[in-house]
């Protein structure tokens, strides 16, 4: 197999932030490309997928891809109506995401292109489009082995675990970690003393499930949207505080963490400050984990 790599095309959460002060990190919303030779896997279709599509059509090298969606919140699908390969008869594209049937997936992706939200519908797509029928046993796309799992975010939202080139990459764009723990802490007064042991077991179970999904992976791309101050105001919005993210990754034995889904209100300096704090936490915990900012355009060899 020739070169395998991942590339970030969109790293912002919530909405695009194309401001001069933000462009060191990048302004486009979620989209990550994983390439292994002639095989292409794309995670999410935020505004980042528009530039990816333009490059793919211009390069005219590949003509097949699988695009997987974590969920259908607009920052993850809003680039799709402008995704050039979908409008080209030269392409074969498979789409997968949360849903009970392939028709569910199709409806959720295509509704954003219906009137009055968009001028042309998915009927104008000329590519050979297929929606993958959901199943629990994972998927293969060329050399990629792909499994999805549920994460903590409003509605049904997936994380993806991808095995490629002897490496495991986990993509978790939107996930609010430690939510049950903080719910219990806020409501502990509702419980009798003899119920505390069960509550501790619940917290332990949730932590075990969070860790199991990312245990010992080589690369983790994970939601790190908020500072502790902002998280205190936005608990329950479905995103993580970076302190929780970096501690989760250390506990899980992750090799390399990419801080992802940056808040659109944070400029380059603010994201850099988050990164410095993460490195401080890693040093204090005497961990060898690498930690980087997911920056638009960054290419990581696998």
């Amino acid at each position: 197999m020739s070169e395998a790599y991942l590339r970030f095309w969109g790293v912002r959460g919530s909405y695009a932030a194309p401001h001069e002060t933000h462009l060191g990190v990048g302004g486009n919303t979620s989209c990550v490309e994983l390439r292994a030779g002639d095989h292409l896997l794309v995670c999410d279709g935020g505004t980042g997928i528009i530039s990816l599509g333009e490059e793919l059509v211009q390069a005219d090298e590949l003509h097949e891809m699988l695009v997987v969606f974590t969920h259908y919140h607009w920052d993850h699908i809003c680039g799709l109506p402008f995704f050039q390969p979908a409008f080209s008869p030269d392409w074969r594209i498979e789409f997968f995401g949360p849903g009970d049937t392939a028709a569910d997936i199709e409806r959720r992706l295509s509704d954003q292109m219906k009137a009055p939200y968009f001028p042309v519908e998915t009927e104008t797509w000329m590519a050979d489009i297929n929606y993958v029928e959901p199943h629990d046993d994972g998927m293969r796309h060329g050399p990629f082995e792909i499994r999805h799992f549920n994460v903590h975010h409003p509605g049904v939202t997936y994380g993806y675990r991808v095995r490629i080139a002897d490496k495991t990459v986990v993509y978790v764009s939107d996930n609010e970690v430690q939510f049950l723990k903080t719910s219990i802490a806020k409501r502990i007064h509702e419980f009798e003393e003899d119920e505390h042991e069960l509550l501790e077991r619940m917290v332990s179970e949730q932590r075990s499930a969070e860790l199991a999904a990312i245990e010992n992976v080589d690369i983790l791309i994970h939601d790190a949207q908020y500072t502790p101050h902002d998280y205190s105001k936005k608990r329950g919005w479905g995103h993580s505080c970076y302190v929780d993210t970096v501690n989760l990754a250390i506990d899980a034995g992750v090799g390399c963490l990419y801080l992802y889904h940056h808040d659109p209100t944070y400029n380059d300096d603010q994201v850099a400050a988050i990164h410095r704090d993460c490195l401080q936490i890693i040093a204090e915990r005497k961990s060898s984990m690498e930690c980087h900012i997911a920056r638009e355009g960054l290419k990581v060899r696998l």
Partner: protein, 131 residues
């Protein structure tokens, strides 16, 4: 004569939640069937209608919404009284649950006292939705 205790089915991958329900079942007059996954619950639910069905939302493999959609397609479960329970406490999940005709969406954690009250309302009292 057959002594028909009310039947409650719990589908939750949390061992602690199943323990909680078992503890309450021991002191209350209902029969509990607790399953750790949606798949494990289907053998019983394919042909049995409980007095109350309690389903966790986030589970490995088939999630609670998928399970309930599948059950609602079975005429036996079109109106089975159902409560959804979740560590998630988001408005969108409450709406999704309501669209599947659940009586109530309960955010974890739930205390024994609150669980007894829930069962008394929906099983013993045959109550209408409280929220």
């Amino acid at each position: 004569m057959h002594n028909a205790k009310p039947i409650i089915v719990l589908v939750d991958d949390s061992d602690a939640m199943r323990t909680l329900f078992e503890q309450v079942a021991r002191e209350a007059d209902f029969e509990l069937h607790a399953y750790a996954s949606a798949e494990a619950s289907l053998t019983f639910l394919d042909s049995n209608r409980p007095n109350l069905l309690v389903i966790n939302v986030m589970m490995p493999n088939k999630d609670g919404y998928s399970l309930l959609k599948q059950l609602r397609a079975n005429p036996l479960h079109q109106d089975t009284p159902t409560v959804m329970i979740s560590s998630k406490d988001y408005a969108q999940d409450r709406v999704a649950a309501r669209e599947l005709g659940v009586l109530e969406f309960v955010a974890k954690p739930i205390s024994k006292k609150a669980l007894r009250s829930l069962i008394a309302h929906y099983v013993d009292g045959g109550g209408a939705p409280r929220n």
